[in-house]
Amino acid sequence: MSRELFKFKGGIHPPGHKAESTGRLVHPAPLPKKLVIPLRQHIGNPARPVVNVGERVLKGQLIAAADGAISAAVHASSSGIVSAIGPACVPHISGLPDECITIETDGRDEWIAHGPLDYQALAPADLLARLRDMGLAGLGGAVFPSAVKLDPGAALVCPTLIINGGECEPWITCDDMLMRTQADAILQGVAIMRHLLGSSEILIGIEDNKPEAIAAMQAAAAKLDFAVETVSLPTRYPGGGAKQMIETLTGKQVPSGKLSTDIGIQVFNVGTAHALARAVHHGEPLISRLVTVTGHVLRAQNVEVLIGTPFDTLIQLAGDRDGTTGVLMGGPMMGLPIPDTSVPVVKATNCILVKSAELFPPPPKALPCIRCTRCADACPAELQPQELFRFAKSDDFGRAQEYHLFDCIECGCCSYVCPSHIPLVDFYRYAKSEIWARERDKRAADLARERHEFRLFRQEREKTEKAEKLAAKAQAKRAELAAAPTDASSSGASEADAKKALIAAALARAQAKKAETTPQNTDNLSPDTQHEIAEIEARRAKIREQARKPLESEETP
């Protein structure tokens, strides 16, 4: 291997804990009785349901379509009956429910008709549309819809394609196991990516703590008719972060606020490449993925899991133990605590990490920041975490943004090294979500301003229109009157006369109307009713009299 590697700044060496879950063969998880499939599993708009409650669906059938440019479709992971469409618990730190489609499985696991796509014969736009309908999204953790990333856009080609097999986060081994067992399929996916992106340089980056995966990928790459370079990278967290991998392999840095495609590089996770190959060569949408179940369990392992399978099922499969203190989705560095373990596996679930007090002792009490700048030394994004912390803590979000808060990849290196044990990343997440909320409020305010201004404008317009209409009407009347009785006012029809005539005409009209609309029920009354009416009239007159009195008495003094 002659490739010159570069070194990204910062990074840490946490214990790997990879061996726990690589000792067992990958096998499919059992089919659960109920699959809960969230409609928002990717970044972008949630998918739009296209099935109804009570409908029978087949494995691989589209149950919710992509909605808008950045979205991905959702499919039934097994055959069965749709039993509910509505809010259900999803794997999220808040424990809040979100829209899901629930399927009662029938155990037959019956596939919908599907077959391979001849991707080379399809126009790129058609192929991308098909992939969008296959529900492909990045399986590395960000779950960005893959069809969007596979479109080179205005640049037409993306010269460098990087396949990310870094998997730097401790405990997680699903990409490792996938590379060991499915190297050929991954490279089939890479060939499709190369076809779409027109890349000339293809690099596969794998950290050197996975020698079996490197060997498997190299052997598979040797069989290809195009050049793919498998590069062994020094193990250093977060070397599997997209920006860090780009820097290690090419020496280029993605500028702040830019995308890697702006410097001609696109990065995909190995799992995404594998899912792409399944979609194109077998016509199978993204309905399952590899999940590492590890930590405080009896048999840590990797399982092939249908999307929608509850976490509980998998934890039981791996053998749950007493003394569990919590469950993380993802690894110990970037994973999120999941309050409720009945939630389903989604496209983003790479690892279910069961915690115990021995493996993950509760963090010691946080102390004030001593400004030692160890966090800054460890930060791979070259930020000043201690400053970001200071601004986020005091809600000074403007300053935090000036210090490039949004370049923070939430890798957790800073919290890991902080001698004061400050949960720094929590502050950054808090600040980011506050800033997003503010931007949302700002957009809502702009909309309200616009609508209010339009309303004022409309009211003004209506007023002038009404005035114009009235003026036009009066003009027409005047002209009419002036034309007809010329002889009657022979002594020069003055303006005042015309007006008088107008008023007289209006009066006559009003009188006529009044006569027309005399209440019909006052004719032919019986003497009794007549009497009653008279009484009421008398009472009314009295009240009117009384109402007038205080006014008069007020006036008299």
């Binding site: 928002r40 999803v90 999220h92 808040s94 809040l96 429910p97 979100d98 509760p362 963090p363 010691p364 009490k365 946080a366 803590k393 809600d395 400050i422 949960p423 929590d426 502050f427 997440r429 808090y430 980011k432 979500s433 506050e434 909320a437 949302r440 409020d441 809502a444 305010a445 702009d446 909309l447 309200a448 301003r449 609508r451 209010h452 201004e453 339009f454 309303r455």
Partner: protein, 188 residues
């Protein structure tokens, strides 16, 4: 000496012309300070500040006729932003204009609505859809929660519903740093 004076006068004339021309060419429409203030105000258009909408309040602040702490929907944070913009000391919200409430949207009980159109006429952002003698509905995405439609309704069928937190709008909370170590808690 004379040339020097002439040169100086010449430069002055040229600069004067350029300045005069740019004053006309790049004339700023409206009141830029009021614009900036209006950009900070929440645009609820509720009138609690004592002005018929956010824009008139912004103009009054710009003219120095109103204080910066009269907008309850903007809250303390809004006052702070205005203070920053105007370079004055922030003060606490003037309670006489009202207190901040959780964000809500109006909801019309469609069974009770008689279709009188009075609420439509009151809504400052045209967030109510309906026609005479027809049932009316609030377009929730456009409702600012100003409550101006509540008083005119003759059958009291409009209520304010606080916006429940859902997943897309969920926010990370300000982290609370444990004061007591967790061990101690468990022993107790």
């Amino acid at each position: 000496m004379l040339t020097a004076i002439l040169v100086m006068v010449g430069i002055a004339v040229v600069i004067g012309l350029v300045l005069g021309w740019s004053a006309i060419r790049f004339k700023v429409e409206g009141n830029p300070l009021a614009e900036k203030i209006d950009a900070i105000l929440p645009q609820t258009q509720c009138g609690q500040c004592g002005f018929p909408g956010c824009r008139p309040y912004a103009e009054a602040i710009a003219k120095g006729e109103a204080d910066i702490n009269q907008c309850p929907p903007g809250g303390e944070e809004g006052v702070k932003k205005l203070a920053d913009l105007l370079g004055v000391e922030p003060k606490s919200l003037d309670e006489t204009h009202g207190t901040p409430k959780p964000k809500s949207v109006a909801f019309i009980d469609e069974q009770t609505c008689i279709g009188c159109t009075l609420c439509i006429q009151a809504c400052p952002v045209d967030a109510i859809a309906g026609a005479a003698k027809q049932m009316h509905t609030i377009i929730a995405a456009e409702c600012t929660g100003c409550e101006l439609c509540l008083p005119p309704c003759p059958v009291d069928c409009i209520s304010m519903v606080p916006i429940a937190e859902d997943l897309p709008h969920w926010k990370w909370k300000h982290p609370v740093i444990e004061i007591k170590p967790v061990e101690l808690k468990r022993v107790a």
